[in-house]
């Protein structure tokens, strides 16, 4: 297939996965921000949201203060933020339009309808002059639905060939990055020296992390006990049955890279390094990770995952 087509498919998936993550992140953070003052958890909650979303560097070029209204506006609707939800949807649609022939009708229509809907939300915001909370909830819901629809249609309607594999790769590279970023920003509340009594202030941070990767319910199914920070870290890093864990993402990255390599009859640096990334996670234990530093572990994962993304680009997407 054309390198450009593969590249576009890969990025449509990445943008929609990112939009979905941002929507969950905003939802989870809004819950924390709405807690009574007595819980006075995090003055810097919105600041950490900015860091987790990777928008902290550009934010202050355009905004003065990182409060709820400005951060949400910047992350959800700001055209100047290259990773805002609205830009993710717009870029996804632009990429999708460039490779319409590689998408099934259902995939295209889900993303095009999503884009048309986005325009309506934007018009409503503009008419109102601000972002209404109820409208925001509907918007975030819509973003998650759009992402899921595209994902589901890809799963249900695409031929199982390289086009599908590249589209899936985009999902998992992006998802791994998102999960790692949340962990990286919140690692301090997961450290075990913090007091871990049910209902402590940090409890709500832990649940927020779980919600941001839609793992709140899954946690209870896996551990069958109250929320403990090391379990949260374990779930998000090492649990292969948890679809957003780093291991699960790495597993899928290896799988789809291998399928590509098999189809083409040639494996390269991307396959080798993906396998290495996965092996490191398989061989790790949560105890060890905490001993050697959660922060360091996650940080090096983010770096390696980014490098893998670049290797995929070089090996396949430039041509």
């Amino acid at each position: 297939m054309l390198s450009r087509t593969a590249d576009n498919l890969y990025w449509v998936s990445r943008y929609l996965e990112r939009a979905d993550f941002l929507a969950r992140l905003i939802e989870a953070s809004s819950r924390i921000a709405a807690l009574p003052k007595a819980y006075a958890v995090a003055q810097d909650e919105w600041q950490s949201v900015l860091i987790a979303s990777g928008a902290d560097e550009t934010f202050f070029e355009h905004m003065e203060k990182a409060d709820e209204a400005s951060v949400i506006a910047y992350l959800a609707f700001d055209e100047r933020n290259s990773s805002s939800i609205r830009n993710c949807i717009e870029f996804a649609r632009t990429n999708a339009r460039a490779v319409r022939t590689a998408l099934t009708v259902e995939m295209w229509e889900s993303i095009n309808s999503g884009w048309l809907e986005l325009k309506k939300f934007e018009a409503a915001n503009q008419a109102l002059g601000r972002i209404d909370r109820e409208e925001l909830i509907r918007f975030l819901e819509f973003v998650k639905t759009t992402s899921s629809l595209y994902d589901g249609y890809a799963y249900r309607t695409m031929l199982r060939n390289d086009a599908y594999y590249f589209s899936r790769l985009g999902v998992y590279i992006e998802r791994a990055d998102n999960t790692a970023r949340v962990l990286d920003v919140k690692y301090h509340v997961l450290l075990p020296e913090q007091e871990a009594i049910g209902g402590s202030v940090d409890y709500f941070q832990w649940t927020a992390i779980l919600r941001s990767v839609s793992a709140y319910t899954a946690y209870h199914w896996v551990y069958r006990e109250s929320i403990k920070p090391w379990n949260v870290a374990d779930l998000l890093i090492l649990r292969s049955e948890m679809p957003r864990s780093l291991l699960s993402c790495a597993d899928n990255i290896v799988r789809f890279l291998d399928l590509i390599g098999n189809q083409y009859g040639r494996h390269g640096a991307a396959q080798r390094n993906a396998r290495q990334l996965k092996r490191r996670l398989e061989n790790a234990s949560i105890k060890e990770i905490f001993q050697n530093g959660l922060h360091e572990f996650v940080e090096s994962f983010v770096t390696d995952n980014n490098r893998l993304g670049m290797e995929i680009t070089e090996q396949y997407l430039i041509g």
Partner: protein
């Protein structure tokens, strides 16, 4: 101004033609609200599918819909047979003309067409002189614009043999009708058009260069998603099952064209290009163009890749050459043209120019190289100022213009908010040429001028489209 004209549904006596009897009944029975809601439904579907086009010079309307009219336009089997024979004849003549003009130039030497009209034509490509194209096919895809003024004759308004567009609307309009008016459709036994992509693929495969090693790799070359016809490009690539490439996806090495793939370079044999001549190779034509591929012309001239349509084909569809089509047809085929030409004054001829200047308010003035309804004057609908502007243009560059009488184009019933009334229409059938012959699918794109009395059907000027139904019965019902 209302000209008396041929209405394709209703005779001057007020009764429906036999051909349209069921349509007339249907229109009578359907409350206007129903047609309105069907139209809205169609619009919603078109927008969701993304069948949109960009209007140049209008940024706000970046993605507009071409209005779709739910009332179909009908042709009897006998009417279509006559038209089809004429189209095949016309396209054969166009193709022979191109082979000759870029080869021996017999028609110029015989003095049938003035040499300077061809050789000094901006669409004439000297690079192609003496370079036969694969299988001598130049006009792989032709869109011939046809109008009617009575129930018998078909007139050619314009030949399009560069990169005619609109075929995706022909196909999508049919899908829409099947969905929105299933009973009406089932009652009519309409000749199918859905085999067009297969016919196109067969034509493209048949013209692969002789050097092609095995199964030809065919691609569609698009200028990209900001082009007004991008939807059509992606639609066609999808239906053909071939890659949709942009210039940046192509590279040329040792006169062989390759596309960049995830598995490395892959050889390309046939390019259905929707990029104009001027932009296909910065080394030969416009150096600033990023829409083509450097070296493409070299590969083409070396005979290693087929371009459809051929480079330089535009010299045949120019409006000045148009006026010679009857002579061109007789010259190559020794036959009388089956399709008529609209009477045309060539403003380059002093007598004609004088007549045109004296009758500006009655005539349609067209730029020889214009298209899409840009740069034309419709005399009877123009203001004094517009007429004066054209008078000056004509005096300065008479060579650039032709003039034609204001034809009273036929009308068809057309629905719009709150009613149905006759509107002027034309028809663009698509004619395919391969090494194995010329093919036409029964139908085409009917374009309709939505404004009352308007004769301009171009989508860029507010025209709409209709589905075109060729029936299995003759116009008189037999």
């Amino acid at each position: 101004m209302t000209l008396p004209c041929f209405d394709e549904m209703t005779t001057t006596a007020g009764a429906p033609r036999v051909l349209y009897r069921r349509i007339a009944e249907w229109l009578e029975k359907s409350p206007p609200g129903l047609l309105d809601s069907r139209r809205q439904q169609a619009e919603m579907l078109f927008r969701r599918i993304g069948i949109t086009f960009a209007v140049y010079g209008d940024k706000e309307a970046a993605e507009r819909l071409i209005p779709f009219d739910i009332v179909p336009r009908l042709l009897g089997r006998d009417e279509w047979s006559r038209l089809e024979a004429g189209l095949i004849q016309r396209v054969k003549a166009l193709n022979m003309f191109l082979t000759d003009v870029y080869g021996e130039q017999a028609i110029l030497r015989a003095g049938i067409v003035p040499s300077d009209l061809v050789l000094r034509n901006p669409c004439y490509r000297p690079e192609m002189q003496g370079h036969p194209v694969p299988h001598n096919v130049w006009t792989h895809i032709a869109g011939i614009d046809i109008v009617r003024v009575d129930d018998h004759d078909f007139y050619v308004l314009e030949d399009n043999v560069r990169t005619p567009s609109g075929v995706s609307y022909m196909l999508e309009n049919r899908e829409m009708m099947i969905r929105l008016a299933p009973d009406l459709f089932a009652d009519h036994f309409v000749m199918p058009v859905e085999n067009y992509p297969d016919a196109l693929l067969a034509s493209l495969r048949s013209v692969a260069p002789p050097t092609c090693p095995g199964e030809p790799n065919i691609v569609v070359l698009t200028p990209g998603q900001f082009n007004s016809a991008y939807y059509e490009h992606s639609f066609l690539a999808d239906k053909l099952g071939v890659e949709l490439v942009e210039g940046r996806d192509l590279t040329v090495k040792d006169d062989i064209v390759y596309m960049r793939t995830t598995e490395g370079p892959k050889r390309v044999d046939v390019i259905y290009r929707r990029v104009d001549d001027d932009y296909i190779d910065p080394l030969v034509f416009r150096p600033e163009s990023t829409l083509g591929a450097a070296g493409l012309m070299g590969a083409y001239l070396a005979g290693n890749v087929t371009l459809a349509n051929a480079v330089g084909a535009g010299v045949a569809d120019d409006k000045a050459i148009y006026t010679y089509m009857p002579e061109i047809t007789r010259f190559y085929l020794g036959e009388e043209p089956l399709l008529k030409n609209v009477a045309t004054w060539r403003c380059r001829e002093p007598d004609a120019l004088k007549y045109v200047l004296d009758h500006l308010s009655e005539l349609v003035i067209k730029e020889v190289n214009g298209s899409g309804g840009y740069g034309m004057l419709v005399g009877p609908h123009a203001s004094k100022e517009q007429i004066e502007v054209f008078r000056q243009k004509l005096l300065t560059h008479p060579d650039n213009f032709i003039a034609q009488p204001t034809l009273s184009l036929s009308t068809c019933p057309t629905s719009f908010l709150g009613g149905v009334a006759p509107r002027h229409v034309d028809l663009r059938p698509f004619v395919l040429s391969g090494s194995d012959g010329v093919r036409v699918v029964p139908g085409g794109l009917t374009r309709v001028a939505l404004k009352e009395g308007s004769l301009v059907v171009n989508s860029s000027q507010g025209g709409g489209t209709k589905d075109t139904w060729v029936l299995e019965t003759d116009a008189n019902g037999s």
